[in-house]
């Protein structure tokens, strides 16, 4: 694998300390709740009603998360997904489809004021906002680096991908990384076309990914622990939680938007 690394100006690292951060630990929830919370918390941070926040996601169901601009039919084998109880949700950021089972991914969102990434190009901002994760993975023995535009990758294959939205007065940056995977089920529920692989040589679909589990014997919990520790060291942040108000707002958004066919099949 060629090693094209995305860099950013290292002096940006000092900016994390410009804010008081809150860290919300993972807890299992319905797929659409994770998407709705992204909108709610981005709005709250953008309006100054919440401190800048890092939230770890959790799932109570197998899920395919498709990008804001993806066509469901082009990405998902809809009947197979339904048969295997895999929910399909559309997130509010661009980028590609990700498939995971509960307990196999490490996914998080950063909700921050735009000033955190001021003056950085989009590619730089992606690498900057995920740098603490790449550093943590390296510390835990994974030969990881950031590949443009939005991939955390490694000598063992792609680990995960990030996506951003700049809306509601804030930056939303979220990243799904794969701790472990079910490659057979993945090829049954996702569509991976030849055109998508066209500039990636002759590697097959499941060889493009290299989940952490294939590269370490550490349990998934060790990664959550190390990531939380590192983010606290980096930012001086402390643990927090989703408020009742935010939870209610997200439940309402699930009902009115993110669980509707109109949203999920926005691009059929």
């Amino acid at each position: 694998m060629s090693r094209t690394e995305q860099h950013y100006p290292r002096e940006a690292d000092a900016r994390w300390r410009d804010y008081e951060w809150e860290i919300i630990p993972t807890s299992p929830m319905p797929p659409a709740m994770n998407i709705a919370l992204d909108e709610v918390l981005t709005r709250r941070v953008g309006a100054g009603d919440r401190r800048p926040t890092l939230r770890f996601w959790g799932w109570d169901s197998p899920v395919i998360v498709i990008g804001r601009f993806q066509s469901v039919r082009n990405e998902v084998q809809i009947e197979n997904a339904a048969e295997h109880g895999v929910q399909v949700v559309r997130r509010i950021t661009g980028g590609g489809a990700m498939f995971t089972l509960p307990g196999l991914d490490i996914t998080y969102s950063i909700y921050a004021p735009p000033d955190l990434v001021k003056g950085l190009s989009f590619p730089e901002s992606y690498a900057f906002l995920d740098s603490w994760v790449v550093d943590t993975y390296r510390e835990l023995g994974i030969d990881a680096w950031y590949a443009p535009l939005n991939d955390i990758t490694s000598s063992g294959g792609k680990i995960g991908g990030a996506a951003q939205a700049r809306r509601f007065g804030a930056v939303l940056h979220h990243t799904m990384t794969s701790y472990d995977m079910d490659p057979t089920l993945m090829t049954q529920v996702l569509r991976i076309g030849m055109e998508k692989l066209s500039d990636k040589g002759l590697r097959s679909a499941d060889k493009r990914v290299g989940p952490l589990r294939q590269q370490t014997s550490l349990p998934r919990e060790a990664f959550f622990h190390a990531l939380t520790e590192r983010f606290m060291d980096l930012t001086g942040g402390e643990l927090g939680e989703i408020s009742n108000l935010e939870h209610q707002a997200a439940v309402e958004l699930v009902r009115s938007k993110f669980s509707t066919e109109e949203w999920t099949y926005l691009l059929p």
């Binding site: 990008g67 601009f69 082009n74 661009g94 989009f122 443009p148 535009l149």
Partner: protein
């Protein structure tokens, strides 16, 4: 019709559309690209409606580029990528 193009080192763009009276109708542009602001997609899609199927790649790219609102960031794709996907769909 259905055409796909992946920008080398970039993202996939897919254009699905129908052809009526020699013109493109009901276009849908999708893919794993990034676009800021998101609403710019409507302008891009709108510019494709009614395009002659005899339009060259360069002509399609020009029409799309002219429709992209100022200040829009297209990451991983471009008007040219959309034009290639359409020409492929028509091939």
């Amino acid at each position: 019709m259905h055409g796909e193009y992946k920008t080398p080192g970039g993202k996939l763009v897919v254009v699905d559309f129908e052809v009526r009276d020699g013109k493109i109708v009901e276009p849908m542009v999708s893919g794993d690209f990034f676009l800021y602001p998101e609403e710019s997609l409507e302008h891009i899609v709108g510019s494709l409606v009614g395009l002659s199927i005899d339009s060259s790649e360069e002509q399609i790219a020009e029409v799309v580029a002219a429709a992209v609102p100022e200040g829009t960031e297209m990451l991983g794709f471009s008007p040219e990528a959309i034009a290639i996907a359409i020409r492929r769909g028509l091939a």
